[in-house]
């Protein structure tokens, strides 16, 4: 429906851009973004920075993972994505649940793609073990399993590893707002509790 007027608009906008820039050299030297010096305490830094957002971090080993996650879930109803590769008693495996169905579930357990130490961020690429975007959004509590080996130093390291063709969700602490008198309140629309389970051995 916009093909005819859109075609006109497209050519006109691009034409305006070209004439605005006529005589302007497109060559600009872009200085490389600086990288901080490498450090060997990435996992500690990651933990400290995630906790700074008032998220809960529990460190564990591969052997204890199932127990730790079960405790983090507690008596809540829980949904998991396909491919989580962890047995959680009573968990519903997402097979295309509706938003309304997910709204009736308390908790979601997933893995992550990358952890960023400097900023205390976990990134989901919604592949196997992470699931559709909606399942980590509607339930009120998100238990996210991060492998210590997945933790990188800073944003540029994460950008290099991540695949832009996939949808990505970068999560830094629980949902928050500071819209009323700049008072930080955790939890508006996303999960109000973020529990990161950090696996190392």
């Amino acid at each position: 429906m916009t093909s005819t007027p859109g075609g006109g608009a497209r050519d006109e906008v691009l034409g305006r851009v070209r004439s605005a820039l006529s005589g302007v050299s497109p060559a600009v030297e872009v200085p490389p973004a600086p990288r901080a010096a490498a450090r060997d305490d990435l996992v500690d830094l990651f933990t400290e920075r995630v906790e700074d957002y008032r998220a809960v971090v529990t460190a564990t080993t591969r052997a204890d993972l199932a127990d730790v996650v079960a405790r983090a879930v507690g008596a809540a109803t829980v949904v998991v994505p396909a491919g989580l590769d962890l047995d959680i008693p009573g968990a519903v495996v997402d097979d295309g649940l509706t938003a309304a169905e997910l709204d009736a579930i308390d908790c979601v357990v997933t893995r992550a793609a990358v952890g960023i130490a400097e900023t205390g961020t976990i990134v989901l690429d919604h592949g196997p073990g992470q699931g559709r975007r909606i399942i980590t959004l509607v339930p009120d509590r998100h238990v996210c399993i991060v492998d210590a080996a997945q933790v990188v130093a800073d944003v540029p390291d994460a950008i290099e590893l991540l695949d832009p063709a996939r949808p990505l969700t970068w999560v830094s602490g629980p949902s928050a707002t500071s819209d009323i008198e700049l008072d930080r309140v955790e939890g508006v629309h996303g999960p109000r509790t973020l529990h990161v389970v950090l696996v190392a051995d």
Partner: protein, 497 residues
Amino acid sequence: MSGTFVGMPAFPTAARAALGDTQLRRNLAHATHTIRDKRARVVAEVEDWEELRLAGAGVKEAALRDLATHLETLEAALTRAGATVHWARDAEEACAIVAAIAKRHGADEVVKVKSMATQEIGLNEALEAVGIAAWETDLAELIVQLGEDLPSHILVPAIHRNRAEVREIFRRRMGAVGRPAPDDLTDEPAVLAGAAREHLREKFLRAKVGVSGANFAVADTGTLVVVESEGNGRMCLTLPEVLVSVVGIEKVVATWSDLDPMLRLLPRSSTGERMNPYTSTWSGVTPGDGPQEVHVVLLDNGRTRALADDVGRQALRCIRCSACLNVCPVYERVGGHAYGSVYPGPIGAILNPLLRGVSDEQTASLPYASSLCGACFEVCPVRIDIPSVLVDQRAAVVDAHRGDRIPRRGSHWQEAVAMRAAAWTFSDARRLGWAERASGLAGRVLGRFSRTTLPGGRAAAGRLPGPGAAWTGARDLPAPPPESFREWWDRTDGGRS
């Protein structure tokens, strides 16, 4: 409409009204100081912040200088990824595209993520005119929308409202448009946020069409990026069947790796956090996950006008972090509404004239809404030299109005020149002192300081001496603070110490 608040008076007049509003000034001062301090702390953590700024400025400048190429690359990548790309020359065209998509799906409502571009084009009003309700889902935007108010800050649009006012707005207005506020609503921010969660959740769960902007658009991968805090963005980007994103053509960066300096610069400059709670990126349609029909509207609406301006082009690097607002001594005193645009503060003072030209009185007064103190440039993550562009735009105002009849009293540029002098004088207590002495008014002016009191009990300068006298002829101004902004800046190293 092209982004001016309809019927807004020129800056000096609007500023005068704002200066008299004590509650507004108190809320603003609290807010700008709080964010300023947070920003300074997290920026100080980054050892190579200045290099990061240079990289960020470079990424954006390079994208702008070869914009046509990048836009075509973006269009091709989006199309490959299953998105439909539309082009809009102006606000009206962009609104019509969004309305047509919503209509095609039989939607009588859309859920919206906070987006400067959709505010600029007046999308909510345009949709309302064709019977489609546009629900703002960002908490501050919700406060503004329910209060039938105007946003006053890029980042925290309800910065001018305190908790008691927010409670009143929720109690009075929520019920009319959906789930009412609970009876026991208090003015605790957590309780108010909880009420917003309940109110909006039913809208998210049933919405067919979501509308967003984008903070960045990556040309080579066709990826859009939305940076947010509350999760309302994720809701709008994930739950609806159809997603329409209105993206200014200046949002383009060339490559995926260009996101690096930007995603480090934006949260620290904006909310003063190492990283904002949620950043979503998506490239077209992901089968089985999220909206299965994805539209992107590439918007000009004056951007090519700004692009053609050799000095002003850099304003298009702006990533809307709002750091320049929070350090601006003029913004802190008058607030966002006085600028009469969705883009207030120092960036608004240059962006509005660049996008729209300076033929109307309101826009022509904006380049004078500054003391040229330079704090905005110092904090800008993409190094926009706002003071230089301001000066250049002042010249543009003078040029554009050279043919006007010789100044009548009250004509905008006469007033604007007086405003400039007032701002210049006011920005520096020492300068004010010189002006007083030079004009031999010191005694009288100081006498007035002690006699005149503004509604909040704050002493007022009844009249500016020297070149500012014309401006204060019929106005009250707050007395200069004991420590001027510049002195504060020097003493605290821009709030870092």
